[in-house]
Homo-oligomer: 312 residues x 2
Amino acid sequence: MYSEIIQGVRGRKRRFIARAITHVENNTEISSKLLSELYPETGSAYRIGITGPPGAGKSSLTDKLIQNYREQDKTVAVIVIDPTSPFSGGAILGDRIRMIRHYNDKDVYIRSMASRGGHGGLAQATQEVGDILDAAGFDIILFETVGVGQVELDVIQTSDTVVVLLVPESGDDIQMMKAGLMEIADIFAINKSDRPGSNKLYISIINMLSGMPHDEMTWIPKVVKTVALKTDGVSELVDNIHEHGDHIKRTGLWNQKMVDRYAKQVRELILNKQDEVFWDKQNCNILDKELALAHEKRKSPQELAESLYSND
Amino acid sequence: MYSEIIQGVRGRKRRFIARAITHVENNTEISSKLLSELYPETGSAYRIGITGPPGAGKSSLTDKLIQNYREQDKTVAVIVIDPTSPFSGGAILGDRIRMIRHYNDKDVYIRSMASRGGHGGLAQATQEVGDILDAAGFDIILFETVGVGQVELDVIQTSDTVVVLLVPESGDDIQMMKAGLMEIADIFAINKSDRPGSNKLYISIINMLSGMPHDEMTWIPKVVKTVALKTDGVSELVDNIHEHGDHIKRTGLWNQKMVDRYAKQVRELILNKQDEVFWDKQNCNILDKELALAHEKRKSPQELAESLYSND
């Protein structure tokens, strides 16, 4: 069954890719073995992150990017990272519907992923799922996140090129800066750019970028106007992604990104192992006993941690 | 100097509170000692988290909450958690200006905090800063976050009551669910409720909440309409926060929250220690040597982690 999955992933068989990803998502016993064995086959996919505020049109744009890359005969995998809801009990797929037309294309793989626990959590899981898809031979991997918080930024930064999608309604500069998106964009796409305000937003981003310190090695983010629903600006966006890819390959940044991801993954794996080993029955009991005391009778968390650590 | 800080915090002296917080933010050598010594004095502040999308009016609302609590003669501390920007080089304080009028009130303490590294990161730092303010004798601690991602949710969940601020423009249900805010709210405040669409939003939240499974122990989130700039609905909001506080105290949930925070803090402290101890010169060298190899010559991250871990 294990080697069947490996072979299935190598053969880019949807069913086995799905199984491998499920193992990774659930951090099962064999997930680490799968990832380890597939590692030598990774390193050639190009990873593109797409993020932006809710309602910016990420799904529409992703749909059109799939189409564009398919026209170039490239294979495409898409990972949609959704926050889970306790009401719906799972990832929200409401507006993924427009991507359905690609589901029958065997060279397109689309999957949504929800959050998972553990250290590194979602960002690590995303990278691992990316590795499976990379080993499966997809040329392009698109990561789409909703939300604009720190974890989403961590996730998206496992990508080679980050596209930040904005809409004319995104508001004034400060609001955008607050959203924490500015610092991670390699390319800004102003979507729904046929609406009023798109020029104003375009100019304010350009102005802001002109204040960035830079030398010849610096990538100055591109700004592209799109109307995803009409496919306007999509090929320009694809060109910009390609140009950014060339830039990071030429400057060694692509290699550096892979090295950083590798180092981070090793550190997270070790932390997870340490955490698991530390909290054996004995240490859990000591913590539980302390928790059963009234607040004012407890040692401080610092004292308890110190005594647990030094007696372990 | 160390005992001066402790005494200063106990005496609710602004200058020493600021110093203690700086130690905690920077995770200095004495921060753990400070927190440990102040621990017995914590446990009486009430922690309120306020979150919502950019532009919802969180600062205005926070301003009015400070005013309301001050009228009740309660002391108030506010921690504003800002994403850092590489362009501005620090936290963005643009729209905090309206809170300035409280800066001269010695029973109000306002501070902004930026992200920090390390495991647990911002959520842990926020809780620790809350502990300092708790020990300093503030009755009410308000945590305000911008952004709606997972870390922001983690941060806000170190609070006793979570207020999620929305505006009529927040869009349809699915957009809100996507923002991941729905699952954490104890109270929804629809701010700028004098704008069109506020009734529609009100009704859709009520409808959504009516589908929640519940028994007598369950808190059904309240929905309040506010116009923070005009102070409309603010006292109703304060009443609802108070009611939620009574509920969690009566049901034992308040105590449970404190127990959970304590356990989490102990776990994070141990992980940080393990991480620090593990990555000594020798292990760092082994990792660096592997990173210096070409991608295809490297062990898989899983193999390297395993071998580092078992030889440590």
